[in-house]
Structures are given as structure tokens and as C-alpha cells.
């Protein structure tokens, strides 16, 4: 494999200009653990860091010594050297509610908060979580209380959702449909809207048939209330985009050396380039290696077979089989990474070897941080 450039994690963490690190990648590759390990390492190197996670797994909170994370940053550790580590878990409903409460008068806010559509929208997993993660990121950044924000992205059905969903939600809430729904109330029978409303009549008829009249009414109420409160969702989404494109942001694509995860990583790298988002590099978690690399899978398996056929050294044969399997796995993982490196030869890479145990505490996170930095 052509050697990719090495990803220098410490250089990124030590650079005071780095204000936001976004960990993205497929589900189940250890994004959240990577984010937490980076946060701890940054704090131990003197940064005041906050980790914003969307992963509801309690295990992460526990590994940081808390029983649970919530929507407010909590202090995890203040290591020597002046750095600090905070962590929080995104509560998307709470975050959404807060935006409504901040922007609407109490009567309107109540109207929105109790609408069934709002409740579905604000507690759903699709789109809203991504949007609210970005919203929260913006809030943390504006507060300027932390000099480094590390965020892991939601476990979307596809990694790209994270980039698409805020825009889509913004587009929807700002879109033609919303204006149509609110048009009858706003524009009455003004002639310019007549054509629009004729089209709307057809649509409304279909929707009534499909959803029932009450649903449509709820939807209309919700949309006009929301529209009156803030509109401009798309503008907010655009602001977030700009924030992500800014020089202080570093994207880390996280993957495991498996086909799906590496493929997803490739997509992500390409997509980030398209969107002109600053990519710092690729982190490959859970890489298997062997302390006995000079004994190949083929030789090991052949020797095991030889011993087995002779009926000698059963133990050695079993060990050699184990080693052959391990080398085979390592070779496959190597191939999966090779595809990526061939396609993206300039992307810096850091590998983290597979641990035989799960991370349970700060010491475990620290170890991962060390592996990340020494890659």
C-alpha cells in the first residue's frame, strides 16, 4: 500500500486556531469514543474542550464518570496544565423547545409546543437531530466559553444525512408548501394567489382524503405559528454551513477497516470536498494486527495442517490456526484500507488498533487518545 500521510492529531489539538472538530462516519465505527478520547487529550494538553455527543449510550457517560449526560455541558475533568473537559448529550426536543421559547411570545410558544406536528417533528429521529446538533454547535460556538468543541454526528441511516438533513429541513420549513399552507390565511383572495390557491385546493383535497381533515388543520396551525415565530430556517441552516466551512473547523472521518465503513468514508471525503468543508483526515478504528507479522497466514495454515495430519503438537497446530486467521483478517483489513488510500492518496490517516477490552473509564479514553496521536 502506498503510504498515506500521517494524521497528526496533536498538531490539530494544539493549534489554538482549531475551534471545532467534527467526527463523522458510518454507524458503529466508534465515532463517539473517538470524540471523547480527543476531548480528553485536548484537555490534557491545555485546551478548554467540550464534547457534544448525540449518542444516547450511557456507557460513554459512565466512562467519563457521570451516570448520565444531558443537554447542558458538565465538567468531566480538569487535568493539570489548565485545560478542562466538558461533555454533553444533545437532547433534540429540549433544544428545539428552547428555540421556540426564545423566539415566540408565551401564548404562541404554548400553541406550537402542544401541536401534535411539532411534537412529532421535535422528537423524531430524522432530520431534526442533525438540525438540532448543528443548532447546538452554533450556540456553543457563539457562547465562546470553550476554545474547542468536538462533536460527533448522529448515527444516520447514511453518513451524508448529517450534511443534507439541516438543509432539507430548512428547505421544507421555508418552502413553497409552507407558503401554500399559510397563504389562505395571509393573502386572502388576492388575485395573484388565485392560481396558487387553485393548485392548493387540489392538494388540500388530496391531503384531506389521505390524512383526514383534522390532520390538515393541525398542520396548518403548526405551520403558520412556526412561520410567524421565526421563518428563516433556511438562513439558519446556511449560517451553520458557513460555520462548518470556516478555517477553524476540522473534519475527521472515522471508519473501521471494513468494506461498508470504508466505502462510507470514501463517500464522505468526496462529499466534504464538494461542499468545501475542511477535511483533516481519516481515523481507522479497530485495526487488527499481529505481533508475529513475519509468519504469513499461508505458511501458518500449512504448518498447522502438517502437524494435524501427523497427529503431533495439537496445541501448536491450534495456535497456528489462530494466527493464520488473525493474519488473514489483517490482510483483509489492509486491502479495505488500500482501496481508500488509492482513491484518496493525500488524505492523512491515523490507525487505532483493536483493543481487547471495551473502554470503561478515563484511563481507557486516554489510551485511545495516545494511540490516535502515535499513529
Amino acid at each position: 500500500m502506498k503510504k498515506p500521510p500521517v494524521l497528526d492529531i496533536d498538531a490539530i489539538l494544539d493549534d489554538k486556531g482549531t475551534r471545532i472538530i467534527v467526527c463523522c462516519g458510518a454507524g458503529g465505527v466508534g465515532k463517539t469514543t473517538t470524540a471523547a478520547a480527543l476531548g480528553l487529550r485536548a484537555a490534557e494538553r491545555g485546551r478548554c474542550a467540550v464534547v457534544l455527543t448525540v449518542d444516547p449510550a450511557r456507557r460513554l457517560a459512565q466512562s467519563m464518570g457521570l451516570s448520565e449526560l444531558d443537554n447542558t455541558p458538565r465538567l468531566i475533568s480538569s487535568p493539570e496544565g489548565g485545560g478542562q473537559l466538558f461533555a454533553m448529550m444533545l437532547d433534540m426536543k429540549r433544544t428545539f423547545d428552547e428555540i421556540i421559547e426564545a423566539h415566540a411570545d408565551p401564548v404562541r410558544a404554548r400553541q406550537i409546543l402542544s401541536n401534535p406536528f411539532y411534537q412529532s417533528l421535535s422528537s423524531s429521529f430524522s432530520g431534526t437531530q442533525e438540525y438540532m446538533a448543528m443548532e447546538k454547535l452554533g450556540q456553543l460556538r457563539r457562547s465562546d466559553e470553550w476554545d474547542l468543541i468536538i462533536v460527533d454526528t448522529p448515527p444516520s441511516r447514511s453518513a451524508l444525512d448529517f450534511l443534507d438533513a439541516p438543509e432539507r429541513l430548512g428547505r421544507f420549513l421555508d418552502g413553497r408548501f409552507i407558503r401554500l399552507l399559510t397563504a389562505p390565511a395571509k393573502a386572502g383572495g388576492r388575485s395573484a394567489f388565485r392560481l396558487l390557491n387553485a393548485g392548493f385546493g387540489l392538494v388540500a383535497g388530496a391531503m384531506t382524503k389521505l390524512l383526514g381533515a383534522q390532520v390538515l388543520k393541525d398542520l396548518q396551525t403548526f405551520v403558520s405559528a412556526l412561520d410567524a415565530v421565526f421563518g428563516g430556517f433556511r438562513q439558519r441552516a446556511e449560517m451553520t454551513y458557513k460555520l462548518l466551512q470556516a478555517p477553524g473547523t476540522a473534519f475527521l472521518v472515522v471508519a473501521a477497516p471494513e468494506r461498508d465503513a470504508m466505502r462510507e468514508a470514501s463517500y464522505f471525503v468526496e462529499r466534504l470536498a464538494e461542499e468545501r468543508m475542511p477535511l483533516a483526515g481519516l481515523v481507522v478504528n479497530r485495526v487488527h494486527e499481529s505481533p508475529v507479522t513475519k509468519l504469513s497466514a499461508a505458511r501458518s495454515a500449512a504448518a498447522a495442517e502438517e502437524l494435524e495430519s501427523r497427529g503431533e503438537h495439537e496445541l501448536t497446530a491450534a495456535v497456528l490456526r489462530l494466527h493464520a486467521g488473525r493474519m488473514q483478517l489483517a490482510a483483509r483489513e489492509h486491502r479495505e484500507q488500500e482501496h481508500f488510500v488509492t482513491a484518496h492518496p493525500t488524505v492523512p490517516v491515523a490507525q487505532v488498533r483493536a483493543m481487547s477490552e471495551d473502554v470503561h473509564d478515563l484511563a481507557g479514553l486516554r489510551e485511545i487518545g495516545e494511540l490516535l496521536a502515535s499513529a
Binding site: G28, S120, R157, F177, L322
Partner: protein
């Protein structure tokens, strides 16, 4: 239909869920192959638009259309369908109301986008609706078109919500066609014709998520199926050796002798190699110990368990058939 004497006789809808990275799609595909073997007809459905089925079977992206993608062992066909919520909505409108034109208008105005993106209850009822329609569908002679349907479902964290469509939609639509439709879906999903299988690997987080998911499912009154323990690494090392290795008391001397006999190394080289291998064994033993305790955790759930091996060369078509065979021999299909 003849009795096949498997653990899931009578089940027609197999819902496969699992945490990301556990190989959910792989297991769903292998299960579909296993269920189809012996001349049956099985539909494999994906709902998240990831084209995972196409990738696994090495095919170009699947359209929104049921098409045959594989032949099972001993005859039998696997069909596949990638459900797109937007298409499902248009189809639904046309099928039940003959409203093709209105459907188009809805799409143009972004309403379908709304229904499928912003209100997940609607999206879920559409894709589960399409799936359960395939389960119920009968041919002209009244025979079911598919012997079984395998659904590659959303991840464990979302599965109860995803299947509990009536609940999800209830808040939005108290009456009306969507509500009725969701009740139809509910009738299938909560019946004994459905089983929700969990895919996990022997690691702490996925196991915990599996147990949480099983509890959540029970709470929602949804029928749990089996636990598929995926990517199990097998080793022929005896228990006693592993125990010694965990404690760091494994003696590499015998190993060195074996390596010499096998002609792999000589003298001090053999000892050095044996020591390095001992390190590998110790790591393997620690991992095995952890896996055993995760196995025990899983045993607390009152569900049948199946173990699928880690395929050293990754999942390719041959590997898929191998997994299907393992599924069959363990009685899961």
C-alpha cells in the same frame, strides 16, 4: 405448506434489526437465502435507501420494484425490493384512491418530502405498509405470493418506534385513511406471523443495546424472534490453555517445540516466535473471556440464539451462502 421443523415455522415476516456495524444487512440477506432454500419464494426488503442489498449481492442499485436477485440452495428464489418512502406514498395514493395526479402535485410541492422526512411516523407507516402488503399478498388462486418476507429494518435503537406505527401515527392522525392503514400494518406486525430478530456481536455495547431492544419490544407488545450472534471468531484452543493465557502463565516452551517440528523456526528463533505468539494467545484469551461474559448476558434473554462465524475473507456471495447454511443447520430457517 409442509412443516420444515424450524424454530420459526409459521412466521412470514422476519424483521432483522441490530446496532450499526453488527452486520444486520448481511444476516438479513443470509436469512432470506436460508428461508428460500428448498424451492420457496422469499422477498428481501430494505427500507433505508442505502442499497445495502445490492452491494452485498454485487448488483447495480435496486429500483423500487421486486426483482429476483438470487437462487437459493436446492432451488428457491430470493426477490429484493428497496422501498423508497416517496414512491411508496405515490403508489399508496394511486392504489387506494386513484389519485395519481394529486400525488404528483404533492411531490412537486414538497409535501411528500414533508411526510417522509419530517413526520417519521408517516414515513414508517408507508414503508412498513409496503412490507406488510407483500406479506399479505395472494395470487389468483388465493395462495400467498411469498412464503416469507425478510425486512432489513432500522437499527435497534429505533426498532420499537419503527414497528409501533399505530402509536406513532396516533398523535398525528386520529381518524382517516392513514390511521386505518396503520391499523392494518399493526395487525400483521403484532401477529404470530411476525418475528423480530436481533443481530449483535459479542461486544459490550451491541449486547447491551440488544437487551434494551428486546425489553422495549416486549413493552410495545411486539413479537421477538431470535438473537443472531454475528462474526464469532472460532478457535480450537482448549479452555485450559486460554485460562493459563489470561493469567499470563502460558508456557511457550511446548509451542517452541511444535514450531520446530513444523519446520517454521529453529533454536532461539523458535523461542522468540513462540513468545510473540503467546502474546497473541493472551490477547485472544482476554477477548474470549469478554465474549463469554457477553454470551452469558445474552442468555438472560429468553430467546433462541444462533452463532454465525466471522468470514475471514469478508462477506462475498460465497460467504453469504455459507452463512445461510449455518442458519439452516442451527434451525433458524
Amino acid at each position: 405448506m409442509e412443516s420444515l421443523d424450524t424454530d420459526w415455522d409459521g412466521v412470514r415476516l422476519h424483521v432483522v434489526t441490530g446496532k450499526g456495524g453488527t452486520g444486520k444487512t448481511t444476516v438479513a440477506a443470509a436469512l432470506a437465502l436460508a428461508l428460500a432454500s428448498g424451492g420457496r419464494k422469499v422477498l428481501l426488503v430494505e427500507v433505508e435507501g442505502r442499497q445495502g442489498i445490492a452491494q452485498i449481492f454485487d448488483l447495480p442499485p435496486l429500483p423500487y420494484e421486486e426483482r429476483r436477485i438470487a437462487v437459493a440452495p436446492d432451488g428457491g428464489d430470493v426477490y429484493a425490493l428497496s422501498v423508497d418512502p416517496e414512491e411508496a406514498m405515490l403508489e399508496y395514493m394511486e392504489m387506494f384512491y386513484g389519485m395519481r395526479r394529486a400525488g404528483r402535485a404533492l411531490t412537486k410541492m414538497g409535501i411528500v418530502d414533508f411526510a417522509t422526512t419530517v413526520a417519521p411516523g408517516f414515513r414508517d407507516v408507508l414503508v412498513t405498509g409496503k412490507t406488510t402488503e407483500a406479506v399479505r399478498r395472494r395470487d389468483k388462486r388465493g395462495k400467498r405470493v411469498y412464503d416469507a418476507v425478510v425486512l432489513d429494518a432500522p437499527p435497534t435503537g429505533r426498532i420499537a418506534r419503527f414497528l409501533n406505527v399505530t402509536q406513532e401515527v396516533a398523535g398525528l392522525a386520529k381518524v382517516g385513511p392513514i390511521k386505518n392503514h396503520s391499523e392494518l400494518v399493526n395487525g400483521v406486525v403484532k401477529s404470530p406471523e411476525t418475528a423480530v430478530h436481533f443481530v449483535t456481536v459479542l461486544e459490550e455495547m451491541p449486547v447491551q443495546e440488544t437487551l434494551d431492544g428486546i425489553a422495549e419490544l416486549a413493552e410495545a407488545g411486539l413479537p421477538a424472534g431470535g438473537i443472531f450472534i454475528n462474526m464469532v471468531r472460532e478457535s480450537q484452543l482448549p479452555r485450559s490453555v486460554l485460562d493459563l493465557a489470561v493469567k499470563g502463565r502460558f508456557d511457550p516452551a511446548e509451542l517452541a517445540l511444535g514450531l520446530k517440528t513444523a519446520g517454521l523456526a529453529d533454536g532461539s528463533d523458535a523461542s522468540a516466535m513462540a513468545e510473540a505468539l503467546a502474546e497473541e494467545i493472551a490477547e485472544h484469551a482476554r477477548r474470549a473471556e469478554l465474549e463469554d461474559s457477553e454470551r452469558e448476558s445474552l442468555a438472560e434473554a429468553p430467546l433462541p440464539r444462533y452463532e454465525l462465524p466471522l468470514l475471514a475473507d469478508g462477506v462475498d456471495l460465497a460467504g453469504l451462502y455459507e452463512l445461510a447454511e449455518t442458519i439452516r443447520t442451527q434451525g433458524a430457517a
